[in-house]
């Protein structure tokens, strides 16, 4: 972007529209602010999903309880799963992608800042749409997988619209995620600072790159599946209705062709975070960088070839099951490479157990346990026993909570100073860690055995006298501990937000470019684009005795994108039209779509060339020398 300045500079110089307060957040196209928006929205949905989890565990605390029974329990499990995957885990990862990736590659923004804002608002509109179902007759209740024909059952009275909310909410949020993925793909390919070749990219950026590829190729499958389900539910289609020539197994295939890459979309950036945190706090460069990259790409590729392992009991036959079983087990190899690389990075390192590193080192054994049960589940003959029991529940919570969420916390403690300019309290952080970590294992470890004893998942109760009482009780206590841990974390955030900005540029003695600039990063990120002279660019300069990066360009005017309210309005339009579809008021859906289309026209018809920050203005900011 830098080279383009001189040439277009004379043509466009107008005062930027500067919004403040709420309007600033609604119109921002700054990747750092969008990252914070993702963090707040994702955190909010994480708390809602967590609350649902605690309600589920409360119902299951003792046998034969009648707190949330039948439909209410189904709604709780469905909304817990859907909220956590689509509206908590995904946006939390997008928060890191936005907050960190442009800084790590030495870019001033993402490739398409407007699209970035649009991606956030679409996700948020979808999430809010779906969660309003609680107040509008009942939430979706067909499981987060929404298998047809269960999900295509329509309430004859027209009062209960649960799954319609699922379809429309996920569809709108899915568009946001898809364009976000494409945006980061283009950003990482095109916007790297001079000298940053692919094999010099920090590992977090590498994992985000692979995740973006997976998003781009996996999300179209769920889009198709949701469109078909929408036609079945709203317009009497028959894609999944066997009696009219449809096939309900089609949903399973489409869902898992998306769904399996989806879990790798979630875990890949987690791997990246762990790689950054473990190497920084061992004061050693990452062991086996190139094998890490290779393993990341290989896992990404294989993730498209294993979806049938979710469908072993569907009746695909021995040959198909065996092929997919072997492909699934093959993933254990590159994953093992990663585990050993992390261990070798820690080996002989000067390890500092900060809260970030506590979470990261706790991740490693926890994730291995989830991986081992994964290989067990990959054996089709055994899977017929495990299928739809708490063993599966234990497995995927070990990889998603024990893998993803632990690394999200590691990343939060690690990058919080870069995002907000303040250090989270280490003391409260340690309390948070121990409560959450112990709570997590108490919750999910007994569930392995409950599953092996035959407790099916998604059942709202169990009878006394089958040996299931102790496991369930411990599990519920663990869930409460995790909730306590989250409360401590919230207190930590509030305490931190109330103190002065205290974070220096480089509080952890980091290796990568984001630590070369002030905390929080200024609007334009880098006053001068840095010149990257090797892997772990900042570490390399530190080893050469330099205090800062060598700039790759003289100080000049910096081109900035203009803020815009259009992404918000576009998403609002789709949000409104979503309700129109759910309630069959097609005038409302039409009106919503018109709002979106008009905004798209406005965006297309009026060129916005952005604005420039002049060198004189840069001098007023602190950080960096002329």
């Amino acid at each position: 972007m830098a080279n383009a300045h001189a040439h277009a500079h004379a043509a466009v110089h107008h005062e930027p529209k500067r919004y403040t307060g709420l309007m600033d957040w609604l119109t921002t196209v700054d990747h750092k602010k969008i990252g914070i928006l993702y963090l707040i929205a994702g955190g909010f949905f994480f708390l809602i999903g967590g609350l649902e989890a605690i309600l589920i565990r409360t119902q299951l605390m003792y046998p034969d309880q009648k707190i949330f029974v039948g439909d209410t329990f189904n709604q709780l499990t469905t909304m817990h799963g859907t909220t956590m995957i689509f509206f908590a885990a995904m946006p939390l990862l997008f928060a890191f992608m936005n907050a960190v990736v442009p800084l790590q590659i030495g870019a001033r923004d993402v490739a398409f800042p407007f699209v970035n804002a649009l991606g956030f608002w679409l996700f948020f509109a979808g999430g809010v749409l779906m969660n309003t179902s609680w107040f509008l007759g009942g939430a979706p209740d067909a499981g987060w997988t929404a298998y047809a024909p269960l999900s295509s059952i329509i309430d004859p009275d027209g009062k209960f619209h649960g799954v319609d909310f699922y379809v429309l909410g996920l569809q709108i949020a899915g568009i946001g995620t898809l364009i976000g993925g494409i945006n980061f793909l283009v950003t990482i390919i095109n916007m790297r600072a001079p000298g940053m070749t692919f094999m010099r990219m920090p590992l977090f950026t590498w994992t985000v790159f692979v995740t973006s590829i997976l998003i781009t190729f996996a999300f179209p499958a769920i889009t198709v599946a949701l469109i078909e389900l929408m036609f079945d539910r709203l317009f009497h289609g028959a894609f999944f209705e066997a009696s009219r020539g449809g096939n309900n197994v089609l949903w399973e295939h489409l869902f898992w062709i998306f769904g399996h890459p989806e879990v790798y979309i979630l875990i890949m950036p987690a791997f990246g975070i762990i790689s950054e945190v473990v190497s920084t706090f061992s004061k050693k460069r990452l062991f086996g960088y190139s094998s890490m990259v290779f393993a990341t790409v290989l896992i990404g590729f294989l993730s498209f070839m294993v979806w049938v392992h979710h469908m072993f009991t569907t009746g695909i036959g021995a040959v198909g099951n065996s092929i997919f079983a072997i492909a699934t087990m093959a993933i254990a190899v590159p994953t093992g490479v990663k585990i050993f690389n992390w261990l070798f990075t820690l080996w002989g390192g000067n390890i500092r157990f900060t809260v970030a590193n506590l979470f990261a080192t706790a991740f490693i054994p926890t994730f291995v346990m989830g991986g081992v049960t994964g290989v067990m589940l990959a054996v089709p003959a055994a899977d017929f026993q495990y299928h739809d029991t708490y063993f599966v529940v234990a497995h995927f919570h070990y990889v998603i909570v024990g893998g993803l969420i632990l690394s999200v916390f590691a990343g939060l403690y690690y990058w919080w100073p870069k995002m907000f300019g303040r250090m989270l309290s280490e003391g409260l952080g340690k309390v948070h860690f121990w409560l959450f970590f112990i709570g997590f294992h108490l919750t999910f470890f007994p569930q392995h055995f409950l599953g092996l004893m035959g407790l099916p998942r998604r059942y709202f109760t169990y009878m006394p006298g089958f040996g299931l009482e102790t496991g369930n009780f411990i599990s519920t206590i663990g869930a409460f501990l995790q909730g306590l841990g989250m409360i401590v974390f919230l207190i930590n955030i509030i305490v931190t937000a109330r103190k002065q900005k205290d974070a220096g540029n480089d509080p952890w003695d980091g290796f990568t470019l984001e630590w070369t600039i002030p905390s929080p990063a200024p609007e334009y990120n880098f006053k001068q684009t840095p010149l990257v002279r090797g892997l772990d660019a900042f570490w390399k300069e530190k080893m050469a005795g330099n205090k800062e990066m060598t700039p790759a360009e003289p100080i000049g005017p910096i081109h900035m994108p203009s803020p815009s309210i259009l992404p918000f309005v576009m998403s609002l339009g789709l949000f409104i039209s979503g309700y129109g579809f759910i309630y069959h008021h097609y005038i409302v859906s039409g009106a919503g779509l018109v709002i979106t289309i008009i905004s798209m026209f406005l965006r297309s018809l009026f060129d916005d060339h952005g604005w420039h920050i002049e060198p004189e203005e840069l001098e007023e900011h602190k950080g960096g020398k002329a």
Binding site: M1, I189, I213, F217, N247, H253, P561, D608, G610
Partner: protein, 106 residues
């Protein structure tokens, strides 16, 4: 952002001048011929139904390759990632469709 785009456009038009319209004319003629063959295969009326379908699909694939390489610049420099992306997309889609169709309808 916007200058970026402008720059890319001017870069591309430069490259076009060097290359001249020869390739475009050629591929236009080839594309027209391929379309005529497809029509001819149906009009001829003597051919087996399955053969016609397969024949047209093959012609369509050839045409798609021409489109990608000559009209959408896939053969030019700096198109490595789009080409890889399209190839990977084909691979994923074909695997998924083939596997799903195989198990559901065969």
């Amino acid at each position: 952002m916007s200058e970026h785009t402008h720059e890319a456009v001017s870069d591309e038009s430069k490259r076009h001048k060097h290359e001249g319209p020869r390739n475009h004319n050629l591929t236009y003629i080839v594309s027209a011929l391929l379309t005529i063959f497809a029509f001819a295969a149906v009009l001829y009326g003597q051919l087996d139904r399955t053969f016609i379908i397969l024949f047209i699909v093959v012609l369509g694939l050839i045409q798609a390759v021409f489109q990608l390489f000559f009209w959408m610049h896939a053969k030019e420099k700096g198109h490595f990632f789009p080409v890889i992306g399209i190839a990977f997309g084909f691979f994923i889609a074909l695997t998924a469709v083939a596997a799903a169709v195989w198990w559901m309808w065969w």
